[in-house]
Symmetry: D2
Subunit: 225 residues, 4 copies
């Protein structure tokens, strides 16, 4: 029934480290809203192959697979994306952008677009998106990565929220954390970035809040599984 | 009462030309949704002075003015921003960004932020924003300008929508029109840009649609004038 | 001649404050390279009117004015832009972007483009650009503002440099300073941002260094006044 | 010998298609400058594994491998990156950004940064970069992808050039091509995008031209192999 709001968080880090801590903080914060259910997926333990640009996902899918080419972790992820009502993307900043792992995941969501087939079409439409980044430098691409995640959200016809009604969130686009002045190698360095952690909590709650308001306008409700 | 949804469109062009045509297309399209009321403001006929960074709008405002420094067209615009539920920003692209006029307007909305005083505080919170740009070059900064408008929206705790569920909108961030191959000097050149005009119509409708869904979550409803 | 390299710094702040301190640090650092001459202009004490998009600067300029419409501080600034070999743009971040004042200045440089007339054409071509921003929030639009300045540089066929060979510059796009955790209202708050100040020094030196290498490839040397 | 200027082009497309046509046009154009040598690499026929964020490339490299973890195509690519003086990155736009393949390649260039060891350190410093993108939508992320490539260049302390002194290049950031109105699936659709192809030729020539001017300022000349 429509009373539960499901928030899915996806981490694009290759390591069990700072990104995970931020995503966890966001999801825990989302969970404080009554009726919110959270779930988390880590790309580091997933097998996600490169999109080969074959356009087959735009054609018929007789077998109900979203991607006609690869049998990998995406099969499970597609279902989770379809079932959620809010999506939080968290990624370390590598070279001023989301990681290759995160970008590879994004590329593979093509079957969930307007061109998709069967129950996969518009799988993320009208769902609410929020973004989290963490960089080794203070201004090392957090903003540009957040914008890239927003671009991804809008291509999926999602609704974007930022760090919402907070006095001084550090960044308005989403959570922009940093491990600076410690090296990013330190797996829990972000625990000293109070500003970044707080922004992660804000974005988690904000996604859950607006997803609740948007309930009834997404695809789950336009037909069954 | 809450049955009407008001969509405000603001044009940042110094000329009566292509940007206006696009904004008009967007607003007319929004108006096709029952219960939608539209309003349009053109910065070219407004007197908007530069923000001087005095931070007085964060302090007490005994006189109820949003800006304590300038008495100009913004006094009227502040009220209109406060009253709308959806906001469409349209601008020509000048040097890869919104025009100086549009940026100057944006800077002056500081009193409507989280730091604002009295009834001006959070004036745009939870309202829905969509963006329109038109460039003389085909890829002349439309995307980067759309992102700048989104940044503005998120700083105001607004909700961002893109060109929504369309097969091939030309740009997912918002309407990205062009006067190319004609010179931008031609005031109605955009009439030949079917793709850009259609995207403007989509964004207009999308803003109105989501603003309707978000009704009841904005400030007008949290207290009186 | 040709042994001197002239670096021009332009501040887009409406206040005498943090942006000026950063620009000064950058210019002083540039000056440490032998043969470097520096100059600084502040938009706060300039009268720069909005570009009205009339396209007259693309047409004949019988009177040698770069802009055919406005007689204001730009007349002087055009000459300074034409004479420099390196350009440093410094701006506070307002609403995730350069200030309205800075954007208005940028818009007015249209006569110096490829379409310009007489000695104004290509006035910035092959010159070296570096960017400085300072925000009240830690990740409050410094990156997006730096990118907007770069966009401006590339439209002028300039060469872009970043914070160059430094171990941990805080931001690779240019200097990204912050007044956080102090309020931006504090005029010298950036003096506590060692990271931002150091980046400003790096960008100053980097612009001067590469401008020296590029000497002989800019328009001053192709004839004219 | 110092008289030759080597321009390396890298394609991030998973298919032999439009991106390759654009890159080829750029490289051929670069080659028209006397003394220019071109080389091309396609990621589609390379094996490039994800960076695992282990930071080992910042530590000692007793075996002279740039990456201490993966033995794959990057071993060869690292050498080619080190040897070139100009670099052209070409990518299709996937979800508003460079492809997962291209991003994965970028992530793996970490050993060539300021933290690198031995002859790999600063391998791209002071080299000249230009960018090419092609999207299935007209304004489908070409600009944002070009900015991401520029960010990559600046992190490597490179020098960025745009589409240089051209009357109407379509995009100033680099080449922004499109297969629209044809589907991106058509492998040579870009052949009908005269604007995009011309911009690719401009960027090729521009990179070669400025790389020639910058000769003597890159690492090959500071010793090493």
């Amino acid at each position: 029934m429509g009373d539960q709001v499901k928030i899915l968080g996806i981490s694009g880090s290759p390591r069990k480290a700072n990104t995970d801590l931020l995503l966890e903080a966001a999801l825990k914060s989302a969970e404080t809203l009554p009726g919110t259910v959270i779930e988390r997926m880590d790309l580091k333990s997933a097998d996600v192959k490169f999109c080969i640009g074959c356009f087959k996902c735009f054609e018929d899918n007789p077998n109900d697979y979203a991607c006609q080419v690869h049998r990998d972790s995406m099969d499970q992820i597609y279902s989770k994306l379809r079932e959620c009502q809010g999506l939080i993307i968290a990624t370390p900043v590598y070279f001023g952008q989301v990681t290759g792992q995160m970008k590879t995941f994004m590329d593979r969501t093509e079957p969930l677009l307007r061109y998709g087939k069967g129950r996969w079409k518009f799988a993320l439409k009208n769902k609410v998106g929020g973004a989290i980044t963490v960089g080794g430098n203070r201004n090392g691409g957090q903003e540009t990565s957040l914008q890239a995640i927003h671009h991804f959200f809008l291509i999926h016809d999602m609704i974007i929220v930022g760090t919402g009604p907070d006095e001084r969130p550090g960044c308005y686009l989403g959570a922009a954390a940093t491990t600076h002045p410690k090296r990013g190698k330190i797996r829990d360095a972000v625990n000293e970035d109070e500003l970044g952690l707080r922004a992660a909590r804000i974005i988690g709650k904000r996604v859950a809040e607006v997803a609740r308001w948007m309930q009834g306008h997404t695809n789950q409700h336009e037909g069954g599984t």
